[in-house]
């Protein structure tokens, strides 16, 4: 009888400890993970798509500038040749050259500004969707905190098992593609 009570006590004490441990885990521990921001950013499909779009626009603009620059060089060479040959250069030709040069410089500056604005706009769009999707990932996987490691010392050390970058990349890409 005494032995039975001892066994009974041990078993239920073990259950009690287990219950306490589970309760602690459930209510008092924080489910944490981290992502490598650069890796996730670069692995995000939207980034690749917008980067390609940006490059296309930038290349088109560069082509236009190259073409204008070539025209200017030809005209400048012609003017130089005329000058070296001792020929007088018509005022309109010089004015035309100046006008084209002004136009070229103006367009070059404008394109540089437009490229920067486009790059900023795309970055904002990517970050907007990325933030939203990582948030959805966190909610779906019931994380309390997801840290972003960007190599600036925000996260000095973590076990690799807390790194969910690959899983996050997979999740955000599927969501971005509109898959369920």
């Amino acid at each position: 009888m005494k032995m039975k009570t001892v066994i009974f006590t041990i078993v239920f004490s073990a259950i009690g400890c287990f219950a306490a441990l589970m309760t602690y885990n459930r209510f008092y521990t924080t489910k944490t993970a981290y992502v490598e921001i650069k890796k996730v950013f670069n692995g995000f499909l939207m980034k690749g798509e917008l980067e390609a779009k940006y490059n296309q626009v930038q290349n088109e603009r560069a082509k236009i500038l190259d073409s204008l620059s070539f025209g200017l060089k030809v005209l400048a060479k012609h003017l130089n040749d005329e000058k070296n040959a001792g020929n007088t250069i018509a005022k309109e030709v010089v004015e035309r050259f100046e006008y084209k040069r002004e136009n070229y410089l103006k367009l070059k500056g404008q394109y540089a500004e437009d490229n920067a604005a486009l790059s900023k706009k795309y970055d904002e769009q990517i970050l907007g969707q990325l933030t939203q999707l990582v948030m959805e990932y966190g909610k779906e996987k019931d994380y309390d905190i997801i840290l972003g490691a960007d190599g600036n010392g925000n996260l000095m050390y973590s076990k690799e098992s807390y790194n969910v970058s690959d899983e996050v990349i997979n999740f955000i890409n599927n969501k971005y593609k509109g898959l369920e």
Binding site: F12, T23, I126, G128, Q132, K177
Partner: protein, 226 residues
């Protein structure tokens, strides 16, 4: 002493069970994935017309899809021909022959309803987060005309532009804007996967994609009497 031990043990055991139970009550019911019905064949099911329309609008059945990017929510709903006919005849007494005829009139295209909603807005969507007075005009112009160039359907390597685009103005009544879209059925294989893409220039959120898997828009229940 033994009774006390029993009570303590029972309480501990109950706590353990609660702690170990799957987190059903903690599950996020508002997330798409958790609320989706499993993919099953609906072709054997038969429902009434009213039930059919409600079935199509239910997000669990995958014809209506939703995406939220910070403060803006996008919703795309596939509208089968029967739903289009139902909408057209909703104020009339049901007549089977007429209904069938109206359905036939919608077979040329694949229709979608696309809605953009400001989650924090209360007035007209077009007035949400305005930066200047001229922006309102350009938003009206964009939604009325230019937005159709930013909406397209991608299937394999084909990109299809909408053959029908209609912006339903809310005139300050609702914090959302609704657009009806139609893509030519001849250009689309309804049995194959496709993605409807919106390049959002209204709120500058970038590409918003909605994917429909193989056969998703034809996996529908039958309507009784049709």
């Amino acid at each position: 002493m033994n009774n006390l031990l029993h009570i303590t043990a029972s309480v501990a055991f109950a706590i353990a069970l609660i702690s170990c139970a799957p987190e059903a009550s903690m599950e996020k019911v508002d997330l798409d994935n958790s609320s989706l019905a499993p993919v099953i064949d609906h072709s054997e099911e038969t429902v009434t017309l009213g039930e059919f329309v409600a079935w199509c609008a239910n997000r669990k059945n995958r014809l209506a899809k939703e995406k939220t990017i910070s403060d803006i929510r996008y919703n795309l709903t596939y509208l089968p021909t029967e739903t289009m006919a139902f909408i057209e005849l909703r104020n009339e007494k049901y007549d089977f022959e007429k209904f069938r005829k109206v359905c036939e009139g919608y077979t040329e295209m694949v229709y979608f309803k696309f809605r953009i909603e400001a989650l924090e807005g209360s007035g007209e969507l077009l007035k949400y987060d305005l930066r200047s007075s001229s922006e309102y005009e350009s938003r009206v112009r964009y939604l009325s005309f230019d937005m159709q160039m930013d909406l397209f359907l991608v299937q394999g390597s084909d990109t299809i532009s909408p053959g029908l685009y209609h912006f339903e103005r809310a005139y300050g009544v609702a914090p959302y804007a609704t657009v009806m879209l139609g893509f030519s059925r001849n250009q689309l294989n309804s049995r194959k996967e496709f993605t409807v893409v919106f390049n959002d220039r209204l709120f500058d959120k970038g590409f918003i994609k909605f994917n429909y898997a193989d056969g998703q828009i034809i996996n529908l229940p039958n309507i009784s009497g049709l």
